[in-house]
Symmetry: C2
Subunit: 181 residues, 2 copies
Amino acid sequence: MAMNIRTLCLGILSFQEASGYELKKEVEDGMYSHFIDASYGSIYPALTQMNAEGLLTVRSEEQSGKPDKKVYAITEEGRAALAKSLAVIPAKDKFKSEFLFEMLLQQFISKDHMSRAIDKQHADLLEDLGRIEQMKKQECNCEDAGSKFVLGYGESVLRAAVNYLEAQYPRLQQQKMKAAE
Amino acid sequence: MAMNIRTLCLGILSFQEASGYELKKEVEDGMYSHFIDASYGSIYPALTQMNAEGLLTVRSEEQSGKPDKKVYAITEEGRAALAKSLAVIPAKDKFKSEFLFEMLLQQFISKDHMSRAIDKQHADLLEDLGRIEQMKKQECNCEDAGSKFVLGYGESVLRAAVNYLEAQYPRLQQQKMKAAE
DNA sequence: TGATGCATGTAATCCGTTACATGATTCA
DNA sequence: TGAATCATGTAACGGATTACATGCATCA
């Protein structure tokens, strides 16, 4: 079984009930943002399906000035399914970086393009770091050991990347300079 | 255009000619291993296709005691296509971690299972680090600035993850202990 | 008035993996 | 003798993304 969109939804819903839209937001800029992806096109069908299977319940919530939302909650069967999925030893982390690939192939790109790529990478890393710091400040999620651990892990790794990038930046610029002569 | 299997093959072949089998190996345990994935099922068709398009040339090489291999080499057109793909600012890094997801949902797993998951994560990280150290020792690839940068980046990030894991391990065990009481 | 956020959903498409098929050689 | 390495390839399948479709409210 292992990890897929279904397990992801069950996992988030085990903390709190939510709509499909809210789940997407959580994955996009919440606790899960830096190690998981999911789009509407996968979330909505998964919720409908799991509701039909009895792993979730739905309730329509009216909102003033906003469209109604379908709030999903996990059932006991859902919790059991989640536990079963988590009982598998997790697969190895997957890290995909077009940035590193491009850095490896420096010879094919201009100094200017490289600068822009590095700046973007730097900005992306800082953005992720900022999001983690914000979540650490909020008291809501930080009660449990799991959240603390995951936030700390992300922070360590991102910080290391930022530090490395900042330390190497001058060196890379120099080398490109020399190559241009 | 951006990054896909085609670009990946062109990129590796820009350093040295290789067979499909060798490309897979390079992606599996070489320089690219910790930030890129590719299987035979995607590599072989890509090579055939790009050869037909004139981005690559092939040559059959006989080997004693081993099957013949098809050695591919990049053409001028291939280099141009590669440069074009690299001219796009790289997409944001994608990091997927079932491990972190499982840590977040600690409450659903046993102390024993968690220990095994952490040990596996630790071993995976050390394996990647070991591969990087080995590549640093070899003189063959370390000439260019790109390789140095990429190896250093990987080393920094992986080292940070290992350190964090080792520092947090006792704390996590204690908490699971308390929870079991 | 035009962009952005809230909100749900479907269909086409892509991109790749997994499994299958084949076969020789070497090492334990 | 059985597993592992070298070596190439195809077909079925899966899993998710992208784009499309719709619509109201708010803010600049």
